[in-house]
Subunit: 134 residues, 2 copies
């Protein structure tokens, strides 16, 4: 499906349904648009990880937020949770099929970010400079 098609789809959706409760885009963007979800999904895309390994891979997330984000992602079917009854117990998280499929558009966005980050920083700096002069 081309970008133009998708844009048409969006226009249609936009015209008929911007209501937050039933709008797929809002629902999904609100979930993976939070501070940590996308980062965790991308990290797990590289390979399955245990709780503390994830915590190390994403250093500045707190245990609390990691737990909560993992629950939410599990609830929506993006990841699965596997408990190994070892001692001490270990729990491994991995992408579910749904999670693997969302990684592709997500990676596209990250790729865009890498490519255009410089332009953004430049625009930001210029804007701030002009604001100071004004």
């Amino acid at each position: 499906m081309s970008s133009a098609d998708l844009l048409g789809m969006f226009a249609l959706w936009q015209a008929t349904n911007v209501d937050a409760s039933t709008c797929p885009a809002r629902d999904v963007l609100d979930r993976i648009g939070d501070k940590w979800s996308s980062l965790i999904l991308l990290t797990l895309a590289v390979g399955a990880l245990r709780f503390s390994a994830l915590n190390r891979a994403v250093p500045d997330i707190s245990k609390r937020m990691l737990t909560q984000t993992l629950r939410d992602l599990e609830r929506d079917g993006f990841i699965t949770r596997h408990v190994f009854p070892t001692k001490p117990p270990s729990v491994e998280y991995r992408l579910a099929p749904l999670g693997r499929s969302v990684v592709e558009p997500l990676v596209a966005l990250v790729g865009w970010a890498q490519t255009h980050h410089g332009a953004i920083r430049e625009a930001r700096q210029q804007f701030d400079t002009n604001a100071q002069n004004a």
Copy 2:
């Protein structure tokens, strides 16, 4: 660039740089991942709009958040602001080149959302049901 390549890029980035302040992905996702930015970008992708028209197109955003989000998007170079010295004054917002280029990966994500929204809702419902039984 293929998805696999991008995934490799991400793995490299992940290994070398998860620091929030210098990480492009974090920077961009934090900006367009907020509650309104992506919605506004997609709305403007359909066509340039004035302030109040935007407010009508995205009904449940407050004037305050609309103003603020538009400023942030302008600051980062995603959109431009055109003032027409009519009476009363009118201001039109439109996508800058940077904004037009980010719409493509964004639309891909929205397309994904449309396609998989049913699966997510299903997973969510099932998870909640199981949680109740437990």
